[in-house]
Amino acid sequence: MLTCTDVHLHYGASHTLRGVGLKAEKGRVTCLMGRNGVGKTSLLGAVMGMHPVSGGAITWEGDDITRLPTHQRARRGIAYVPQGREIFPRLTVRENLETGFACLPRALRHLPDEIFDLFPVLRDMLHRRGGDLSGGQQQQLAIARALVTKPRLLVLDEPTEGIQPSIIKDIERVIRLLGSRGDMAILLVEQYFEFARDLADDYAVMDRGEIVMAGAAVAMEEAEVRKHLTV
Amino acid sequence: WAADTIKVGILHSLSGTMAISETTLKDAMLMMIDDLNKQGGLLGKQVEPVVVDPASNWPLFAEKARELLEKDKVDVMFGCWTSVSRKSVLPVVEDLNGLLFYPVQYEGEESSRNVFYTGAAPNQQAIPAVDYLMNDLGVKRWVLAGTDYVYPRTTNKILEQYLIDKGVAPADIMVNYTPFGHADWQTIVSDVKKFGSAGKKTAVVSTINGDANVPFYKELANQGIKANDIPVVAFSVGEEELAGIDTKPLVGHLAAWNYFMSEDSPANAAFIKKWHAFTKDTKRVTNDPMEAHFIGFNMWVQAVRQAGTTDVDAVRQAMYGQKVANLTGGVSEMMPNHHITKPVLIGEIQPDGQFATVWQTEGLVAGDAWSDFIPESKKLNADWTYPWVCGNCEKPKFAPLAGM
């Protein structure tokens, strides 16, 4: 289980996360919502160790990972689908996927077929450079790349951005499937309310660097949440 | 100002491209000053070296010279290697009436009241060397290869004129220039080889400068140009440069200087011994510009003693006719044109990195500031003796200096 307790984060002088607490359990999909600029990405960044937190603790599978460098976290089974795709532009699609091998033992270093079942375009484009793909193709690649690492915690930052509806549906199915398998915790940031609502087992809403609502999805009051999402 | 020491400025690059050559001269100066102090100094005072690093940067030479003269108030400076560094310092020493001893062979065509040239002028190096090749080795075809700057250009111009005067056909002269630090000599060496295969004895007169020599000689060796096929006579390659090259394939190639470390004279043996003791390294070599500094420094010391002061004007006047035993067994004398008399030696490279003298002038040759082979310069006169103060003119130019 991932737990964030009282996480604070600063960019220079600006206090972006102000004591955030969050949990993501294995076998469940935790959805994080909030308006632009409230700190969702920053929180995921804190979980990944992209930016050092200025206070609080993050634990994963019982260990304190607050100060671990990013790649160590990845090696502990945390995979990240960042906002803005962050594809390696000059690596081919295959090579992009293979970067995920870095946290796998040698025996497990192969590309699972499921990935291509989920994103058939990638199979056709294995030799095209990542940077040449269209926006949506890149987004698919980013998700696939995270799955290559066989994660136990999957962190997704607006994974549906720029993806065509039919594939969004596929992604939704996959996330649900992965979530229900029970061995993976999923932390999902999503603006698209219906998508989030349909997927979430748990939810949390952020505003101005704080968690303002949280709980099980079944108990979520849609109107309340929507209020936090409107300006 | 009754300073309690006499200050000697040392203006040699200790970093940058010229450090390769100039660092040694700084060490040599320190050694000689140290030696002098051990013998009781000068005019009852200790001599204090002031070392600066002009870093192979020409404007910095001027800056440092000014600093030495104005801030450190040195009584004399020993320094410079390249002509351009000297040219850069020249206005400064003239402006502030300083004294500079310049120890390197150069292209001539200069005469300054404030500079003493203890290295060779073209007539003390190039012309005798060509004479030797022509008369003793029977060379009929000539390659004049140089780095593209003023010293080689001038020297080659003088030589070309000289050769043509001696009846060499222009077709038998090949002139080639390369950039500074030229590292790829394949084409040129193979051209030389071709040029040399015309059936006439061919020689290369090299004014190739500095770093470029190492790859040049390596290429010569590899393309199999042997000294007895096409000898190369160099004017800028001395013991110091050879120390950086494997000389075994180069045995027999030549150099023309006024001093070789291999000279068999007691003075030289003593000098080398001191040098090895001073540098604590018995492998360190000595070379021609070091000897030039040796002569220049001793002349200056004598002149100061004679004048009883380090005052520049007085010392200058005392310099003329000053005689100093050089390291090759002769006695060099300072001429009124600020050049000295020197023997001209031709040496062949030996496997141990030394030169063996194979020819030398009968007596000593006096340096010419103005070459006889350049029409405009032939008529010029260089004579700085009091009161006819005239360095580059046909008639007196300066009024007698005040107080003299």
Binding site: - | L60, A62, E63, R66, V84, S88, V92, V150, F180, N392
Partner: protein
Amino acid sequence: MGPITRRLIALESKRGWAVLLAVFAFAAVAVPLLNVLLPPDHALHVPTYMVQLLGKFLCYAMLALALDLIWGFAGVLSLGHGAFFALGGYAMGMYMMRQIGERGVYGNADLPDFMVFLNWGELPWYWWGFDSFWFAALMAVAVPGLLAFVFGWLAFRSRITGVYLSIITQAMTYALMLAFFRNEMGFGGNNGLTDFKDILGYSLSADGTKIGLYVATVIALTLAYLVSRFIVGSRLGRILLAVRDAESRVRFIGHSVTGAKLFAFTVSAMIAGVAGALYVPQVGIINPSEFSPAQSIEVAIWAAVGGRGTLFGPILGALSVNGAKSFFTGAAPEVWLFFLGGLFVVVTLFLPKGLVGLASAARRLKRPTLPVTKEEPRNA
């Protein structure tokens, strides 16, 4: 008061002007006075060689300023700025060579000495006109400007950016260096132009001339600074910054990237040319080594040490690096490179914004944003 005047005044804040004036007054008035009025043994006396040294450094500062205009603001790292500097220097050097007249060693009023002894028959055409100071002064600006314009036009039009641009500017200066080394070029080859006697009739060895040149340099630097300030403070300056960040995006909002860069590059080259023209009479020599790529890289180093993109920083950087160099080569001639090299490393690691980073870090506590922009939102 016209809008331009208003903008000129708005270039600096009140404090900015005060500081600028103070520095200017100190440099242009106090330093010469301390030299002339105080006796040489006075503690505050500034010796003439020091004045001359400062003059030389200020020329370097101007060159660094010129580079900052194009590098700091448009992101175009020119590694060939030494070329513009040297060309300006050669223009002035040619004028001073012509001034020597019959006082050359060969007494030939028609030809410079180096041409005489290499047997040149007559003065090459590109030396014509350099008998006139004003022509030379014009050329000192026009030649670098024109070269920059043509070169820049070719390069920017072809969208050569980043290191590619840096390298071709380097190739340019390198090629010019090799060309000027050639004696056939008629610029004195490696020895360059030396042995100058006087400028505008004043003897170069006279203290008065030295101080005059120094003051001229201070004034020129100040003007160059103000011109640069004006440019970077204008909307064009903002476009340059935008070009630095995302060049192609600028095109999509309709601004001409080529035009903006070309303008800055040309102005920058002209400033460098002026710096070179002032430099030569003060150091007494101009030779092709000023074209050497290492020299141009060093200019970038000065700018970086001082703080890129601040105009003032590069000036500070040039002064301090050269001051340090001057000091260390005298004080620790054998090991000074350790000090200088170490200085560069320390500055990068601990002063990421250069020397001015020190000052502005302190100032930022009081002033929240950039001077040019802080007004806008309030009015909006």
